[in-house]
């Protein structure tokens, strides 16, 4: 049973900037990390909400785009070979007899580690659901928020609602594989990459897709499965036959199941000991970055980096209580990657001048 489990030293929940930097600090102490994130890519909010926004308070970066910060962090931690479980959220935690933790995701992936570091930001990202009657009834019976298996939509009538990149991108993609797509948005302006907007315009001009703006879906019809939707198009209401309705209104973070792990929670954040190591009320479980709270807490990326660093030192002591450990400077010791790579300062040349 233990064989089908992912094993690591520090199990990091959340692959945002704080979670990613944890890999580096842990790596310097020769501790391995595995990261779980509900998003399909690392970066958390920096990737999902504001990749193109500049950040000005990362030390030594006068200005850096959030997306670029993530790319640089990924590069920095590469030698320490982080492993990922992406697109899954951590739902439950249990403790083993020998003081390890087993964390299971919504898809049943199991992870075991002596230390768990929750770097979950504001929580795991969930789709924003439109306030429509019987919406939950039709979920997985015609209403999908995430496109997992595109083949499902081939030769089907589908309605996509939304005005951002994902609505545009999926319209283009699903039309391409033979779905009959109707795209609905509350106004005629779309917020997306110029290239995607152009492509959708062309598809509309060629009559390959139906575009209805300004319009809004107001109700869902059908017995067990969705059969049609009613839309309001500038005051006129009419129904459209469809097998699938895909609302794409972005994602919103929710603390979710972590709130029920027995951790002390205050104002939607996890209370930690900030005088020492950002440990929670459960020894071995730490919380770092935006997800934690303590007197004077500031939700800043740079604070998350600091918290991750102290947490790793404490994790080391927990995993190797008898090993001596002194802080090593990367300038002196270099970076010895788990992949055999070695980065170090160039030796200075000592040579006499006659």
């Amino acid at each position: 049973m233990l064989n089908d489990m992912i094993k690591t030293d520090i199990l990091v929940i959340g692959a945002g900037p704080t979670g990613l930097f944890t890999v580096f600090e842990a790596g310097l102490l020769k501790l391995k990390c595995h990261l779980i994130d509900s998003l399909p890519m690392p970066g958390g909010q920096c990737s999902e909400i504001y990749p193109k926004k500049p950040i000005y308070d990362i030390p030594s970066h006068p200005e850096i785009l959030a997306g670029d910060l993530i790319k640089k962090l990924e590069k920095q931690i590469e030698p320490f070979q982080p492993k990922y479980t992406l697109g899954e959220s951590a739902v439950s935690i249990e403790k083993t007899k020998d003081d390890h933790f087993i964390v299971t995701t919504d898809l049943g992936t199991r992870h075991m580690a002596p230390v768990v570091a929750i770097a979950g930001g504001l929580g795991s990202f969930e789709p924003r659901k439109p306030p429509l009657d019987r919406l939950t009834h039709f979920e997985d019976n015609g209403v999908n928020y995430i496109i997992k298996n595109p083949e499902l939509y081939k030769n089907k009538k589908i309605v996509i609602a939304g005005g951002g990149d994902s609505a545009l991108d999926w319209t283009i993609f699903l039309e391409g594989i033979g779905a009959f797509v109707t795209l609905i948005h509350r106004r005629s302006e779309f917020r997306g990459a110029l290239d995607s907007v152009d492509k959708v315009q062309k598809l509309k001009n060629k009559g390959r897709i139906q575009l209805i703006t300004p319009a809004e879906v107001i109700s869902l019809k059908g017995e067990d499965k969705l059969s049609s939707i009613v839309i309001d198009h500038d005051g006129n209401q009419f129904s459209i036959e469809c097998s699938y309705f895909i609302p794409l209104f972005g994602l919103t973070p929710k603390l979710g199941p972590i709130a029920n792990w027995g951790l002390e929670i205050e104002k939607n954040a996890i209370k930690v000991d900030n005088t020492l190591d950002y440990q929670t009320n459960i020894p071995g479980i730490y919380a770092i970055g935006d997800v934690n709270t303590y007197p004077g807490k500031l939700k800043l990326i740079l604070c998350g980096f600091h918290e991750a660093t102290l947490m790793c030192q404490s994790a080391f002591k927990r995993i190797y209580p008898d090993k001596r450990n002194v802080l090593k400077y990367t300038t002196v010791s270099g970076v010895n990657g788990f992949d055999g790579s070695k980065k170090e300062a160039v030796k200075s040349i000592i040579k006499s001048i006659d």
Binding site: Q45, I49, R128, P131, G163, R191, F249, G250, T252
Partner: protein, 107 residues
């Protein structure tokens, strides 16, 4: 002259709060709400990218017009009305003294 203004805010339970807001430290309405620990998430930190601070303006104050970004976000938010605004885009200025706003539903 006082640099503080008053904002009347009605929360999602219908309870009215009198908020005293400073005009001299570049705050916006979302930040004032958070400083009063009102249930405004402010997920995106004020970039007009999450709509968790959506509110309805119920007094006839004339506010700065919506930016394209605010317009775009509101076009994807829920429970949007003609008087919807994002709190993070409402700067605390002396002109809006006495403003009355109601928080939009968060579900």
């Amino acid at each position: 002259m006082s640099l503080d203004i008053t904002i009347h805010l009605i929360d999602r339970k219908g309870i009215s709060h009198k908020l005293i807001a400073p005009t001299d430290i570049q705050m916006n309405l979302m930040e004032i709400c958070k400083s009063y620990e009102l249930p405004v998430e402010g997920t995106c930190g004020g970039m007009a990218m999450c709509a968790s601070c959506q509110c309805y303006v119920e007094s006839d104050h004339i506010l700065a017009e919506r930016s394209d970004e605010e317009d775009a976000m509101l076009s994807e938010a829920f429970h949007v009305k003609k008087n919807s605004r994002l709190g993070c885009q409402i700067q605390i200025r002396s002109e809006i003294d006495g403003l009355k706003v109601r928080l939009a539903p968060d579900k």
